[in-house]
């Protein structure tokens, strides 16, 4: 029974000290501690939200970048294609032009060659004729130096002429 009979003295000290400790702790400990804890929680939450927002912004920005890049790539493709086409056209044009020029050159060359050849042939004909005349003159002088030779020749010519006639 003594165990469950509260002694007045201890009861007094208990009420006094517990009352004081509740009051002092509430005022000087719990208020600042809970205040800064909740402040910290708020700031963490804010920081998290901010980070989330930034992440979203970043995602948005990188999506924009992607779009830009895609555009740029497409543009590049188009430009490249155009350049290729232009180049091909140029080459083709150049080729045709060169071919035509070459043809023309060739034609001219052929003309020249033909002219030269004709000229050469004419000259050769002339020279051959001259030479033949000279040779004939020499041979005639040689062959027809004597009376006999002249007779022989006449005979022969006659013979040939006969042959030709027959």
């Amino acid at each position: 029974m003594e165990l469950v009979t509260p002694p007045i003295g201890l009861l007094f000290w208990m009420c006094l000290s517990f009352g004081i400790v509740v009051w002092l702790l509430a005022k000087y400990a719990w208020k600042p501690i809970l205040g800064s804890v909740s402040q910290r929680e708020r700031s963490i939450e804010e920081a998290l939200n901010e980070a989330k927002k930034m992440r979203e912004d970043m995602a948005r920005m990188s999506a924009g970048n992607e779009e830009l890049m895609r555009h740029a790539r497409e543009e590049r493709e188009v430009m490249l294609k155009e350049a290729r086409d232009i180049r091909d056209q140029e080459i083709a044009g150049a080729k045709t032009k060169a071919k035509a020029e070459a043809e023309a050159l060739l034609g001219r060359a052929r003309e020249d060659i033909r002219n030269e050849k004709n000229a050469a042939i004419t000259e050769m004909k002339n020279q051959v004729a001259e030479l033949s005349v000279t040779v004939a003159e020499i041979i005639l002088r040689e062959k027809l130096g004597s009376e006999a030779a002249q007779h022989a020749l006449v005979d022969k010519v006659m013979k040939d002429a006969d042959l030709r006639k027959s």
Partner: protein, 386 residues
């Protein structure tokens, strides 16, 4: 678990072993020749004679007496053997206040002696101070209220001071570091504070009202917990069984009762006096039960804490006393030595268990207080109980 958290545990175990040494001295010393009848008259003489008669026959080791002394309060702090620390005695008498050392109420052998104060003559008998006549009979006319700073009162005040130092210091640290992460002791205590806030107060009382009661609940939790732990450390300056004394749970449960009674809203009272949706004949039975419940709940709260902590101390001491019981008060050394390892192992085991119980009871008391407050302030709409 960090090393820091293990430290108190290790200290406790060490303390258990040391207290074993202290108790062993106490248990084995049985000097039958030191007690002499004092010339203080009949009552004192009677008291001392009782001592003497029991002391002259070789004093039997009385485990029950030892345990009751250890879990009870005392006017002086027993350290070891015949050494004890006298504590201040404060008496509120009808003639004025008396203030003297408790050492004046006993001689060097711890026998009670009468002390002539300024107003009356006092005698300490079974840890109760009476005003006595010169012949030793109790002075019935004198009104003496004992407000002494007993072992429990000193521990109580010291624990309060400790709480103040720790938490005000912690608050100062928070003020300095602003919102950066807690450091040192705060790193260990902040999760507990948050636990009390989120898992006890917020969940039991509700988002809307919990903030009003949080400072009290936090103080309550740390007060009970620290005193439970202090009670488990068996060496000076710890070991006083404050939470296992009826006063502490009584005061705390009374505060809970008062808070619930004063903050209760009309929904609470309506549920007590006229539970909605219940037919009148049933109400005749139900309402008295509900009214009783309003009073019984804090009483149960009180008994739970008181009984748990007291029982823990008793079990601890019982296991410890096994050594002296089996050694037959020093006659059978073999018995003592053979029992010691087991008794010590069990004591250490129970001490660890009590470490858990100490935290658990602090939690349960705070939680139930929160729940009672929660039912008292819950509105009709967000009331989950019906």
């Amino acid at each position: 678990m960090s090393l820091k958290a293990l430290l108190p545990n290790t200290l406790l175990l060490l303390g258990t072993l040391l207290s074993g040494a202290a108790l062993a001295q106490e248990g084995s010393h049985a000097d039958p020749d030191t007690l002499v009848v004092q010339p203080h008259g009949a009552a004192a003489g009677h008291e001392v004679a009782e001592h003497t008669s029991s002391a002259h026959t070789p004093e039997k080791f009385n485990a029950g007496k030892l345990i009751m002394e250890h879990i009870g309060d005392a006017h002086s702090w027993h350290l070891w053997g015949h050494t004890s620390l006298p504590l201040p005695v404060i008496l509120w008498t009808d003639k004025g206040v008396e203030f003297f050392s408790s050492g004046k109420l006993m001689d060097e052998h711890h026998r009670p002696v009468a002390y002539q104060g300024a107003h009356y003559t006092y005698l300490l008998e079974h840890e109760k101070i009476h005003a006595v006549h010169v012949d030793g009979t109790v002075n019935e006319a004198a009104q003496v209220t004992d407000l002494s700073l007993t072992k429990n009162a000193v521990t109580l005040i010291a624990a309060c001071a400790l709480l103040l130092v720790v938490f005000v210091g912690m608050a100062r640290g928070y003020a300095q570091r602003s919102i950066s992460a807690p450091k040192g002791l705060a790193k260990f205590l902040e999760p507990i504070i948050l636990f009390v806030r989120d898992d006890i107060a917020k969940s039991a009382i509700g988002e809307k009202h919990y903030q009003r009661f949080l400072p009290y609940l936090l103080t309550l939790f740390f007060f009970i917990w620290s005193l439970n732990l202090i009670g488990l450390i068996p060496i000076f300056p710890f070991g006083a069984n404050v939470t296992g004394n009826i006063v502490t749970p009584l005061v705390l449960a009374t505060i809970t009762f008062l808070i619930v009674t004063f903050v209760a809203n009309k929904h609470y009272w309506r549920h007590i006096f006229a539970m909605p949706g219940i037919p009148v004949p049933v109400l005749v039975i139900l309402t008295p039960i509900e009214i009783m419940g309003h009073f019984i709940r804090p009483i149960v709260l009180m008994v739970r804490l008181f009984a748990n902590i007291m029982a823990g101390h008793i079990v601890l001491l019982v296991f410890f006393c096994l050594i002296f019981i089996f050694s037959k008060n020093g006659e059978s050394l073999i018995g003592g030595y053979a029992t010691s390892p087991f008794a010590l192992a069990f004591t250490i085991f129970i001490n660890c268990l009590e470490l858990l119980v100490g935290a658990l009871q602090a939690y349960v008391f705070t939680l139930l207080t929160s729940i009672y407050i929660g039912t008292a302030v819950a509105g009709g709409h967000d009331d989950h109980h019906h």
